[in-house]
Symmetry: C2
Subunit: 362 residues, 2 copies
């Protein structure tokens, strides 16, 4: 008996995308079906290359063909992706803007933003990172780009800033344009203008995700960015203690205000506990315990992960490059999982905003 394309589609119509709650065929995620005797090949077009359910979906497709079509089928599945978008982000070619925010500083927001951008890129996505923390830009040091100056290029007769490429992502930091030894006592409106230029005057090209590291707190820059560029969603970074928790609530509160109305993708708890590298069984809750989960629960948003702090007694502590680029370890694993969960929440948010049937066609 010959296997037909219709049989394959019917079988895969039984496989549900767990986040989007519809089957893969309805979602138009099955493409390029080829059948040659018992050989069945097709592509599954996910909504993000960082999909944490990739292996589960691939398995479900395989089982559906074996069960509903033929137990002798030789199946070749090409797991691919096309990142979804739901609206004009205000930056041509950029599908999604992800804001990384925190109620207060020093919670490791910039570390989370950098590792989120790199984690998304590791999965194959095209990623940009804007460091808009005018008062404490940290991208130049974190990426070993101190003293770097972006090039200017002419595009369509206009002068454009060329983002700097490093570790596979495109970067711009307000720190590339200021002297690290000079103070920046700028009044609010000047700051907002500077940050808008990082979006508008740069040649970002095509990006699946543009991650923006916002300054801590809620101020002029937040109002400007969220009003000028439709942000897909915000990731809130907190540490586990109560003091920071109250501030993080405020950070979230601002995004939820009607005038701003940015969806919260979820909460990341950073510096969840300290573990000496030599004593992996010891967890020291130096900044409190469980605050991130608590905040996510109260606000009814997803918990996107806890990032531990792990150091050996001989480590100096000044990181040379972002953690995600290091060898595997508990911190790298935590960051990669967080990036997957953020990508998942972006896809869910986009799907909610769109007619779900057309999700892959954008």
């Amino acid at each position: 008996m010959t296997i037909t394309k219709e049989q394959v589609l019917q079988a895969l119509g039984n496989v549900e995308e767990p986040d989007l709650k519809k089957d893969l065929v309805t979602l138009n995620m099955i493409q390029d079906i080829h059948i040659d005797g018992n050989n069945v090949s097709f592509s599954v077009v996910l909504t993000t290359p960082a999909c944490p359910l990739k292996a589960m979906i691939e398995n479900a497709c395989r089982n559906a063909i074996l069960h509903f079509v033929s137990k002798d089928a030789i199946i070749n599945i090409n797991m691919t992706s096309r990142v979804t978008t739901q609206k004009n982000t205000g930056v041509p070619g950029v599908k999604n803007i992800i804001a990384v925010a925190s109620g207060k500083g020093g919670v490791g927001k910039s570390t989370v933003a950098a590792n989120l951008a790199l984690g998304l890129a590791k999965s194959g996505a095209k990623v940009g990172l804007i460091d808009a923390d005018i008062y404490g830009p940290s991208v130049p040091i974190m990426f070993g780009l101190e003293g770097a100056r972006p090039m200017a290029s002419q595009v369509d007769g206009k002068t454009r800033i060329e983002p700097i490429e490093k570790y596979g992502i495109k970067l711009l930091s307000i720190g590339f344009f200021t002297d690290p030894n000079q103070p920046v006592p700028w009044r609010g409106p000047m700051v907002s203008t500077a940050v808008k230029q990082l979006f508008n005057d740069a040649d970002w090209g095509d990006l699946d995700y543009l991650v923006i590291d916002l300054p801590p707190g809620t101020g002029d820059i937040h109002i400007t960015v969220t009003q000028s560029f439709p942000v897909t969603g915000a990731v809130i970074v907190t540490t586990p203690q109560n003091v920071a928790l109250a501030d993080a609530k405020k950070g979230i509160g601002m995004f939820m205000m009607p005038a701003i109305n940015v969806p919260i993708l979820g909460v990341v708890e950073n510096m969840s506990y300290f573990t000496p590298a030599e004593l992996p069984e010891n967890k020291y809750y130096i900044f409190g315990k469980g605050g991130g989960h608590k905040l996510a629960d109260i606000l009814e948003v997803p918990f996107l992960g806890e990032i531990p702090l792990i150091k050996g007694i001989s480590d100096s502590g000044d990181a040379g490059k972002p953690t995600v680029l290091e060898e595997d370890g508990p911190m790298t694993t935590a960051f990669v999982q967080m990036a997957e969960r953020v990508a998942q929440q972006v896809a869910i948010s986009n799907a909610k905003a769109l007619s779900a049937e057309n999700i892959v066609n954008n």
Copy 2:
């Protein structure tokens, strides 16, 4: 042979105030001399009750009398103090305003400010604390004053805010006037007005030191506070890593700008290392090493101390009350020494600004 007042003064003229580099008699620090046979009593009026050299100066006075006057003298020294001031701080009755600042947030600036205020008060000084960190006020939680609202009183026909008294100091926080669950997306000028009211509209009474916890970074509030109220000096808080160090440099840079011109009293390095309470010999440099000393050296300002982070494996990490109020321990010792060094720098700064002869007469 009868001991005379002149002999006592001549002997004490040999005792130098190590910071002010003049002898105690020239500095007018010796008062209330009484002589009755071999009994010699007098007061030494220091420039701060938190003087770290108190014991050393007392010993030097005792030895001077025994050596130059009579080895049989029975000496009774009353070590007292009158905190100096050098200028009109803009707040009636307040002798010195000490700003606590940092280039970036999350370095424990509020913790340092609270423990500085409490450490100064512990020595006997009259101390106030303004929490001007509009985006993350932490005094309400740190002092167990969540939900507290200051009283209003009528003074000379005007409505005045009454600072709240707790643990021996007077407190006002911008957090007493905002809802912790509501966001504060205020534009710069509104914020500056709110902070000025904490100085101008409150009934501070007589204070030796008014400590102000500034928001991280350098923005509208810093410009407003330093231009409206002549700040005696600024304490810069940093953590040991490079990223924060670059920001701290900027924080300091702003104070040194001609338009602002606030003396830097020195650098405090917070979270210098982590030590498990059970393993007091292990030091984990989780945030880097030596950055505070480096910053102080580069900027040629005093290093005011390193504050370690010490927790047991069973500690939850959410502190109930400020460290200085706890039992003695390495963290408490570090904070008390820091407060003494800050008071010392204020006294030196005041002495430099004044005719040194009149230092105690203000």
